[in-house]
C-alpha cells in the first residue's frame, strides 16, 4: 500500500473506475470514467485489472506527491506532466519514488487525463464501484472532487474482481527499467473522434425530414456547459423540430422515459444535449439520435468550443465497431 498526497487538485479531479451498472431502478446512473478507453489502457500499463480505480483530471491537472514507491501511468489527454521537473510521456508507465512530485498543467489535447497507479486508488466502494457520483455526493473519495491536502491510498494488489482469468502474477511493479508503453498504432486506431457516429433515437421520427437532414449536416460546438452529466451543444437550432406527442403537449415535451448513455435530446431551444456518464436516468425530451457505444469514450475528451459532427450508422455497424474496439483493447499487442 502506498500513499499519494494531493498538493493541488486541479480543476476537477475525481476517483473513477468503470462505474456501477444495475441501479437504474433506484435512479442511480452508472457514473465511471468519462473516457473508459484511457482508463482501461492505463490500468493495463500498471498491471491492474481494467476496472481498477484511478484519478480522472479535467482540463487542468493537479500536483501530487508520492509518499512511497508507486508504479504509475498517465493516459488520455496530454496535460504536460513532469515528475520533479522531468517530462513524463503519456501512455508510458513509470516509477515514482518517495518525495517525488508529479505536476500536471493545462490540457494540450483533449479534456481528461487519467492517473493510474499499480494497485488502484483505494476507496470504500459504493454499490460495488469506486466511481464518484458528483451530483449526489456518493462514491469515490468522500463523494466529492479531490481537495488540497487529501491523502489517497493505493490498493496493495491489483483488484482482480472483474477478470480473474487475466492474472498478472508475473507482473513486477518494481521493474522500472522496463517501462510499459501502449502501442502507437493501436492508440491511433482508438483515438478520440470529432465525427461521432450515432444510431437513430427512439423519437427520431418525430423530427421532420428537413430537421433530421439538418442535424447530420450541421456543425455543432461544445459549450462551456459540458460536464459529466451532459454536453450542451450550440449550432443552428432545429426549428422544424418536434411534432410533440399525442397528448398535445408543447413540442419536445413527452412522458418521461428511461434515457440511455449518449442519448442526444433536443431541448425546447432546438439545440442538442448529449447525456453523459452521470446522466439523469429518466427524461422528457425527444431523442433524435444516440452516440454509438464505440464512440462514447470520445465524448469524454471533448472540450468546450470543440466542433463536432454526427454521422448516422446502422445498429449492425455500431455493433461491429464496438467488437473491433474491444478486440484492440484486449489485444496483447496493445502493450509493448
Amino acid at each position: 500500500m502506498s500513499e499519494i498526497e494531493v498538493l493541488s487538485p486541479g480543476l476537477l479531479t475525481t476517483v473513477q473506475d468503470l462505474g456501477r451498472e444495475g441501479f437504474g431502478p433506484m435512479g442511480v446512473s452508472p457514473s465511471g470514467a468519462a473516457d473508459p478507453i484511457a482508463l482501461r489502457i492505463g490500468n493495463r500499463l500498471v498491471g491492474n485489472t481494467q476496472r481498477a480505480a484511478s484519478l480522472e483530471m479535467t482540463l487542468l491537472g493537479g500536483t501530487f506527491q508520492f509518499q512511497s514507491v508507486c508504479f504509475v501511468a498517465l493516459t488520455g489527454a496530454d496535460f504536460g506532466a513532469a515528475l520533479d521537473g522531468a517530462a513524463i510521456l503519456n501512455w508510458t508507465s513509470f516509477e515514482a519514488h518517495p518525495g517525488q512530485t508529479l505536476r500536471l498543467g493545462h490540457t494540450r489535447s483533449g479534456a481528461r487525463c487519467y492517473l493510474c497507479v499499480h494497485g488502484g486508488i483505494a476507496v470504500k466502494p459504493f454499490l460495488g464501484s469506486a466511481s464518484t457520483h458528483l451530483l449526489s455526493g456518493l462514491g469515490g473519495h468522500e463523494g466529492r472532487a479531490l481537495r488540497k491536502g487529501d491523502v489517497l491510498k493505493t490498493g496493495s494488489a491489483p483488484s482482480r474482481t472483474a477478470t480473474p482469468a487475466r492474472s498478472l502474477s508475473s507482473f513486477s511493479p518494481r521493474s522500472s527499467n522496463n517501462p510499459r508503453r501502449a502501442a502507437t498504432k493501436t492508440l491511433q486506431l482508438l483515438a478520440p473522434r470529432k465525427v461521432l457516429r450515432v444510431t437513430p433515437g427512439p423519437q427520431s421520427e418525430w423530427f421532420s425530414k428537413a430537421a433530421q437532414k439538418a442535424f447530420y449536416a450541421n456543425t455543432y460546438r461544445v459549450t462551456e456547459e459540458a460536464n459529466r452529466m451532459g454536453l450542451r451543444l450550440e449550432g443552428p437550432p432545429l426549428f422544424e423540430g418536434v411534432h410533440g406527442d399525442a397528448s398535445g403537449k408543447a413540442p419536445g415535451e413527452m412522458i418521461s422515459e428511461g434515457v440511455s448513455l449518449g442519448a442526444i435530446q433536443i431541448a425546447a431551444s432546438g439545440l442538442p444535449i448529449i447525456l453523459f456518464v452521470e446522466q439523469q436516468t429518466t427524461g422528457g425530451y425527444a431523442k433524435i439520435a444516440n452516440v454509438i457505444s464505440a464512440d462514447l469514450p470520445s465524448l469524454g475528451q471533448l472540450r468546450p468550443r470543440d466542433e463536432i459532427h454526427f454521422e448516422l450508422v446502422s445498429f449492425e455497424a455500431a455493433r461491429k465497431l464496438l467488437t473491433q474496439q474491444e478486440k484492440l483493447l484486449a489485444s496483447p499487442d496493445l502493450i509493448v
Binding site: E21, G22, F23, G24, P25, M26, G27, V28, P30, F126, L127, H133, L135, S136, G137, L138, T199, P200, G201, P202, D245, A246, S247, I255, S256, E257, G258, V259, S260, L261, G262, A263, Q280, T281, T282, G283, K287, N290, V291, I292, S293, F315, A318, R319, L322, T323, E326
Partner: protein
C-alpha cells in the same frame, strides 16, 4: 428497424446497447403494474448480458451488453417473460409517511401556488397532504420518486426558470406530480415545504427511502417538530 406492435406493448431500440419497451402511450395504473411485474421477474432472474433497467411511467429501458446480445434476441426473451409476468401477483404496496414542514423558507412557492390555484395556502397544504400517492418510478437523481396523482386543484406548471439549487428534502409539485428532492440539485418544481427525513442514505440497506410501487402520504409538521426530527 421498425417498431413492432402486439398486445399494446411496443419495442423500440434506444441505442446500440439499449431497448425501450412501451406499455401504451399513456400514464395508467395498468402500464405501471405491467412494468413492475416485468421488473420483478428481471430482478429475480437476471437475463445473461442484461446490464441495467430504467423503469418510468409507461416504459422500461433495458440496457444490455451489445457484445453478447442484439435487440432482436433480447426482444424475443423479453416477450417470453412478458407472458409469464402476467401471472405475477404484486405484493401489497408499502405505506410510507413523510413528515413535511410546509411554507416559510421551506416552501417558498406555497403562497404563489395558492394564488395560481385560486385558493389559500392552508387549503394547498390540506389538498397536498390529504391523499396517498403512488411511486410510479425513481429517476432523475438517486432516490427521486415520481409521485402521482396530485389533486386536480393543485395542478400547476413548472417554474418558468428552474432554480440552480433546490435544498435536499424540498417537497415540490409540477403538473400533476409531486416529489421530494433527495439531494441539493437544480430543479424547476414549485416548492411547498421540506422534510427533515433523508430520502437517500448510504448507511442503511434500503438506500432509497422509497421504491417503485410504494404508497406515500405527506404529514404536516411544525417548525419545532422539523428541528427535533432534523437533529434526531
Amino acid at each position: 428497424m421498425t417498431a413492432k406492435k402486439s398486445s399494446g406493448v411496443r419495442f423500440e431500440p434506444a441505442s446500440d446497447q439499449s431497448l425501450l419497451i412501451y406499455f401504451g402511450e399513456k400514464i395508467t395504473i395498468r402500464a405501471h403494474e405491467q412494468i413492475r411485474k416485468l421488473l420483478h421477474l428481471l430482478e429475480a432472474e437476471p437475463l445473461p448480458g442484461l446490464r441495467n433497467l430504467h423503469p418510468a411511467y409507461c416504459s422500461l429501458l433495458v440496457k444490455f451488453d451489445a457484445l453478447k446480445l442484439s435487440h432482436e434476441k433480447l426482444e424475443k426473451q423479453l416477450r417470453k417473460l412478458l407472458v409469464r409476468s402476467e401471472k405475477i401477483k404484486l405484493p401489497e404496496p408499502r405505506e410510507v409517511e413523510i413528515p413535511v414542514c410546509y411554507g416559510g423558507e421551506f416552501g417558498p412557492d406555497l403562497a404563489e401556488v395558492a394564488v395560481l390555484c385560486n385558493t389559500t395556502s392552508e387549503q394547498v397544504i390540506k389538498l397536498h397532504s390529504s391523499r396517498s400517492y403512488l411511486v410510479y418510478f425513481l429517476g432523475f437523481v438517486p432516490g427521486f420518486a415520481y409521485l402521482g396523482e396530485l389533486s386536480e386543484e393543485l395542478v400547476t406548471p413548472r417554474l418558468p426558470t428552474p432554480r440552480k439549487k433546490v435544498p435536499a428534502g424540498s417537497v415540490g409539485i409540477a403538473g400533476n406530480q409531486t416529489g421530494v428532492y433527495p439531494f441539493e440539485t437544480p430543479g424547476g418544481w414549485r416548492l411547498l415545504g421540506r422534510t427533515p427525513v433523508s430520502i437517500f442514505r448510504t448507511d442503511r440497506d434500503g438506500l432509497s427511502l422509497l421504491s417503485i410501487g410504494d404508497r406515500v402520504r405527506f404529514v404536516p409538521i411544525s417548525q419545532e417538530r422539523f428541528a427535533e426530527l432534523s437533529s434526531a
